[in-house]
Assembly symmetry: C2
Homo-oligomer: 241 residues x 2
DNA sequence: AACGGTAGGTACGCTACCGTACGTACCAAG
DNA sequence: CTTGGTACGTACGGTAGCGTACCTACCGTT
């Protein structure tokens, strides 16, 4: 629970010099169980989380209680985006989808680092563009693409974030994230399984054939990863205009 | 075309002291015709636009050419969001929906102001949170709400941005923005007209009864305006945490 | 071995919206 | 007055996903 940060979050790993070397002072490794709410619907935050192998969903909670996913954060980014935008109150809930570790930094230290290091601030702000792009792509995808494509996209993105081909996932939770019926997700995943793209086992999905899954997905997966998505680990991208 | 900026954009009008007084040096008033693309799908930008009474759509262009709205900017915000996030390449197209004036600032001057004035930078970055919130809300709305609600939401938001109850709008353009058939929009708007919420005339919509339109809309309209949306004109909100 | 909780398969009638297409009304230009 | 373009009304078969519901299979606990 209190180990020192070594590596794993692409944003932090892209820092250099002092920005990188003294990170341990401010970070605490926290293990997040799946299905745990990181924060309620709205309110102030007191720390910033840099996922290592956990995957966190940003959700919009509707008045009727539906919680639709409007963003996902893994090892390529951080929570909460708004902290890099001079706002300490966020207006979205967040929820751990895939259990794992996050490197947690107190909000006050995050603010100080933003003020003290232009490189740190730059990297965090560039990460915000990814979160924004992602939300916009989800909006367009929800408008235009059928459920099976959306499921394939979600599985591909999650695979990239956890770095494994196999992870726990129930039809029920995916249906909530995508804002559809559980039965509809069951049909979509059955279809993906028939295509040989995935294998399912009671609360667990294994990606059996990435290319088949890509073919079943919409362009949104590639658009997000191409643009930045998980590529902030590439130093040339992180520092380029 | 080259008049001096006086007032009209809520972000700029919230600046004070030197930030406000020397704005005219860097701003040029530009009249945008409707249906004009401000920028192609993706690429570098050379200026930043602060709408006065124009309304601009941020669109995600799909591979098949569909251009779905993933954000809207009017007098409450600015284009391009990414300019405040240390990125001079944006990855979304933008399109003038409702013709009108924008105050245009060269990107280089925008950057210098971001660097020189903490108040200016703060205001711009807080505006980014609104754009992000908006995109997320559209994502959730597309997943959960029916077309008639979405049309009502769009009309209400546009009304707030143009500051008039009447503005040009064709069924065809709204159908593109929402990613649906033109015929579906025709039905939805007919229904809104039957409820007495709007009156239509060949390429023109007039909001006849705001309360009726609110009732026909989903919660997304109020969520966006409540959170910030068009309320950055309120100084207490613009400077509060 | 029995039990209870969770995950998932399946079904049925229903609705919103689709793709396509054609007709009609308005309006500016000639 | 005619013409042509644009905006909108309307229609029809098709389908993706809905709401609801019920049943079965798996699995950890007792």
């Amino acid at each position: 629970m209190h180990a020192t940060y070594l590596a794993g979050n692409h944003l932090l790993d892209n820092l250099s010099g002092n920005d990188r070397s003294d990170l341990g002072e401010d970070l605490e490794i926290v293990e997040l169980p799946s299905r745990q709410w990181l924060a309620p619907y709205s309110g102030p935050r007191h720390h910033v989380d840099f996922p290592i192998d956990a995957v966190i969903s940003i959700v919009a909670t509707m008045r009727n209680g539906d919680a639709v996913e409007v963003g996902t954060v893994g090892c390529e980014g951080f929570m909460e985006t708004d902290a890099a935008l001079e706002s300490d109150t966020v207006r979205r809930g967040s929820f751990c989808q895939i259990s794992g570790k996050v490197a947690r930094m107190p909000l006050l230290r995050f603010r100080e680092r933003m003020d003290d290091s232009a490189a740190f601030a730059r990297l965090m702000r560039r990460s915000v563009t990814a979160t924004l792009f992602n939300a916009q792509q989800i909006a367009a995808c929800n408008a235009k693409h059928v459920l099976e494509q959306q499921c394939a996209r979600w599985l591909l993105m999650t695979r990239d974030r956890v770095g494994r081909d196999s992870f726990p996932l129930t039809h029920d939770s995916l249906s909530t994230l995508l804002g559809v019926r559980r039965a509809s997700v069951s049909l979509a995943l059955q279809s993906l399984q028939t295509r040989g793209a995935i294998v399912q086992h009671r609360g667990h999905v294994t990606i059996a054939n990435v290319e088949a899954l890509r073919a079943a997905s919409c362009e949104c997966y590639e658009d997000c990863t191409d643009a930045f998505g998980l590529s902030l680990l590439d130093p040339t991208l992180a520092t380029a205009g």
